[in-house]
């Protein structure tokens, strides 16, 4: 049990997909305008990661080595399509807000990266916890970035005004603000890492 827990925790801190592995940044930056969008994208990506990790870990002995990448892509694309349909049916507003970034989860490097680096070598249960940990790590990173951007860029958190009379800097809600926030955060985590060592 302890081992599974460490598999799960690894994705959240030590190998956080966004801040440590620097993978899958396209959706991270594009949808992090508001916390709600960030959470939606995080859950969608977690679902795809979990599903594809489990299926690929099950099929790892059947898939021939030479055509493994196309096989992984088909598995991932299937889960992305399921995700798209569910989102369209139950949460059309979120689907509109995330736009083309929902089908683009298919080319998110985190998903393919975990399939190639982890699920194709480990057991089903381990892969399940790895996918879950990576997904939660990705979601937390998204929440952090989108909270900074929504608070400073629009003066709100989850759509509610936090401080009355706070003058927001709109640039943080724009694309350039996303790049600035991620750049500064990566620098900040580098400082933390070097302090620790």
């Amino acid at each position: 049990m302890k081992k599974f827990f460490s598999e799960f925790l690894r994705g959240i801190i030590k190998e956080n997909p966004t801040f440590v592995l620097v993978l899958g940044l396209c959706p991270t930056l594009a949808v992090s305008v508001s916390v709600i969008n960030g959470i939606g994208m995080g859950i969608a990506a977690t679902f795809v990661l979990l599903g594809s990790n489990i299926i690929i870990a099950m099929l790892k002995n059947i898939i021939p080595d030479r055509v493994r990448i196309p096989c992984y892509i088909v598995v991932i694309a299937t889960f992305v399509t399921i995700n798209e349909m569910v989102m369209k049916a139950y949460s059309p507003a979120l689907n509109r807000a995330l736009g083309i970034y929902v089908p683009l989860i298919v080319v998110n490097c985190i998903v393919l990266g975990r399939a190639e680096a982890y699920a194709s070598k480990n057991s089903v249960v381990n892969s399940l916890f790895d996918g879950l940990g990576m997904g939660v790590g990705f979601t937390l990173a998204l929440i952090l970035i989108s909270a900074i951007r929504e608070f400073l860029g629009a003066g709100k958190l989850l759509g509610h005004t936090v401080i009355k009379g706070f003058q927001p800097a709109f640039v943080l809600g724009m694309p350039s603000g996303a790049l600035l926030v991620i750049g500064l955060l990566l620098g900040f985590f580098n400082v933390l890492k070097s302090k620790k060592e």
Partner: protein, 202 residues
């Protein structure tokens, strides 16, 4: 179908909604390969070629396969499979025909398979140039042109970025922001200047 339409597509794909600086597609390759100008140019040209071809191929698939058979929900799977197969095919052809060209472009081609910019263009074309399950007049030419323009936008951002980063090698930057963080901060400033194109109208 008229010239203004094409001009609008050009300005919005290259400048206003630049594929990297505004839509954030293909960021991984943008940060990883923009350290020197020559590889950056090679990568950009390969991306431009693939986005153009992908626009053409996915348009035909969507128009003549997915719509008539009511399979539009298979869009993501079919597009990514076709793009991956196409890129693999191009890689094999180039390796056979011209080894020098393979050394220049070949190593970047596998990376393009999972480049969001390529799938992004295909999905954008479908979103923009198909209305209620029907192709709008001239949609094929619009798709083709948008494919080229997105490639151009990618090239522009890559060239600017690699030029800046080549010079930054000579500067003394703080240890903590070296490489990735600094690249993002530069990209942020570039994106801010591209914001100036917002509001261009015809």
């Amino acid at each position: 179908m008229n010239a203004t339409q094409f001009l609008t597509i050009f300005i919005s794909a290259v400048f206003i909604y630049n594929v990297i600086l505004s839509r954030f597609l293909g960021l991984c390759s943008f940060v990883a390969i923009s350290k020197e100008t020559k590889p950056a140019l090679a990568m950009s040209l390969s991306v431009m070629f693939v986005t153009t071809m992908a626009s053409i191929i996915t348009w035909f698939i969507y128009r003549f396969l997915l719509i008539p058979f009511g399979l539009t929900y298979l869009r993501t799977i079919s597009f990514i499979l076709v793009i991956a197969t196409f890129v693999q095919f191009v890689e094999m052809v180039i390796r056979k025909i011209s080894p020098p060209m393979y050394r220049f472009f070949g190593i970047y081609l596998p990376l393009i398979t999972v480049n969001c910019a390529v799938l992004g263009v295909a999905v954008l074309n479908v979103d923009m140039f198909f209305m209620n399950g029907k192709a709008i007049p001239g949609s094929f030419y619009y798709s083709l042109f948008q494919g080229i323009c997105v490639g151009l936008g990618y090239t522009l951002a890559m060239l600017l970025m690699s030029g800046i980063r080549e010079r930054l090698d000579l500067c003394n930057v703080p240890e903590a922001v070296k490489d990735f963080p600094l690249a993002f901060i530069i990209a942020s400033i570039m994106s801010l200047s591209f914001l100036g194109f917002n509001g261009f109208k015809f």
